[in-house]
Symmetry: C2
Subunit: 343 residues, 2 copies
Amino acid sequence: MDNTRNPRIVLAARPDGRPKTSDFRLEYTPIPEPVDGQVLLENLYLSLDPYMRWRMSAAKSYAEPVGIGEVMVGGTVARIKYSRHADWHEGDCVLAYAGWQRFALSDGQDLRRLDPNIAPLTTALGVLGMPGFTAYAGLLNIGKPKPGDTVVVAAASGAVGSVVGQIARLHGARAVGIAGGVDKCAFVKDDLGFDAVIDHRAPDFAEQLAKACPHGIDVYFENVAGPVWDAVRPLLNNFARVPVCGLIAHYNDGALQEAACDRLPATMHDILAKSLTVRGFIQTEFVDQQQDTFLQEAAQWIAEGKLKWREDIVDGLAQAPEAFIGLLEGRNFGKLIVRLSPH
Amino acid sequence: MDNTRNPRIVLAARPDGRPKTSDFRLEYTPIPEPVDGQVLLENLYLSLDPYMRWRMSAAKSYAEPVGIGEVMVGGTVARIKYSRHADWHEGDCVLAYAGWQRFALSDGQDLRRLDPNIAPLTTALGVLGMPGFTAYAGLLNIGKPKPGDTVVVAAASGAVGSVVGQIARLHGARAVGIAGGVDKCAFVKDDLGFDAVIDHRAPDFAEQLAKACPHGIDVYFENVAGPVWDAVRPLLNNFARVPVCGLIAHYNDGALQEAACDRLPATMHDILAKSLTVRGFIQTEFVDQQQDTFLQEAAQWIAEGKLKWREDIVDGLAQAPEAFIGLLEGRNFGKLIVRLSPH
């Protein structure tokens, strides 16, 4: 470990479709020096999340794209290595947005203090972090599950989906998860306690989903799109709610899809015929109003054993690109995190 | 006029795509006789509305399909010809749902008394009826226009679109209409007072729409779908609302659209990236809560000259099939109504 240099991963090229490891570049820069009012952060853990694929593209989405040669963005758990800021002290553990690198400066504005006594630090990137709050805010504000409702979520073993199903159950709804492979399905059913789980790789996936939802679907938390949507759509009940949180099946698509058929008219038909609500959201919309309540409620659920999670931890910054590519293909199992240093 | 027979139009065959006149059949039955608790209605005006195309198909939508050989459904303005019901008297004018025929029975449950002093009777089928309330409920509950917002609606000279734009303006929003042809556009701009209007037949329609919406679109009231949606979508602002009221461009489609490209991923992308709300609705959802308020507000607006309308009246029940086919192609100009008898 070189203590004088800052290893970082920058965007080397904009991917055309599926990202390749050559779209990223590991490089070393001098460790930056804080001025008055700044702190030097040492990132301990880096969160890898699907939204990062959007930032690699030039198209404007809800946030600016990462520039070529710029450090990839990302949430991190960091320790304050050196402080020239009155409110922050060396050794403090914080949630930061310090990117794919070992060291970074901050003026403190974007930091949240972490208490390792409440839960392991890494939970600030998952169940108690942006993914957990995404699940909470989208499910409760848009999905609005009522007792007895059927709530369906894909990527159910993942950072967001796992929380969606568990909170749905805490609100009295029935949670049906969709996951890929025997191990993930077993985890969703046995460890997370979903009422049912379907393997989307099964050849009769759509039939199994229909059987698992005998009273239809009241809330579909959309984070994958593609064939899962096609299986879910006919099962949606009148007045069903569809929070649209992610579309991972399409993140590597080009702008327009060549296809044998246009699936938009059928979706619009059902939106009209069933009075569906389809609502996209980014969790930032709800942060000011609801994040504090979420953190309190979620900490309580964790303390009571009612909210569980699983992490998939990869060692070393150099592994981040390959791990991120795997995330887009569902190769991770649980919240994907890169450990940047032993500690 | 034969006073002993009831002329009626039944569904002769389920259309495959565009309806043909041979999908309908004019026939004559005896005039039905009311029993105690019933009235005999004489329909004066029949409303023709796009939703009727759905009822002609076997597919279940939000209502049961019309059976082969059954009378086509539809709202009517009727006069009570003969009453055996204590609450209704001969000569009363009512709004009914008595279908494509001259005479019908009713137990009074589905009737609404009409006062010809408030507005012409035919308005009960248009601006003061289901189309007007559809515009009101969808725009205010889902579209939620704020002062300064840009509200776009297609079929802007029609029964629903004309009311959407006018109510948007009454709520302080900017109304941009889309219509087909010079005459309709002139009516929308000059008579209805929309802020701008675009002819969807113009080769540079999408460019004109963008110019007419320099601050983007906050509410798109969807009643046509197809190419209009493709032009609207890129202009939608973050957090825009899309009440989905109709999809007339697709009503004659089959189940799945053969196409060179799948338009669903691009729409879902925008729903997510812009936090859009896309919400289907049928006006019946809001009737119990809001119809009385609507009728009061709309009558007031009409009295003050703030809410205008145009009717396209066709004479004779036998003309209904051809007029309805024209409605699906935008050949009508204003609320399409069939006059069933001179009076």
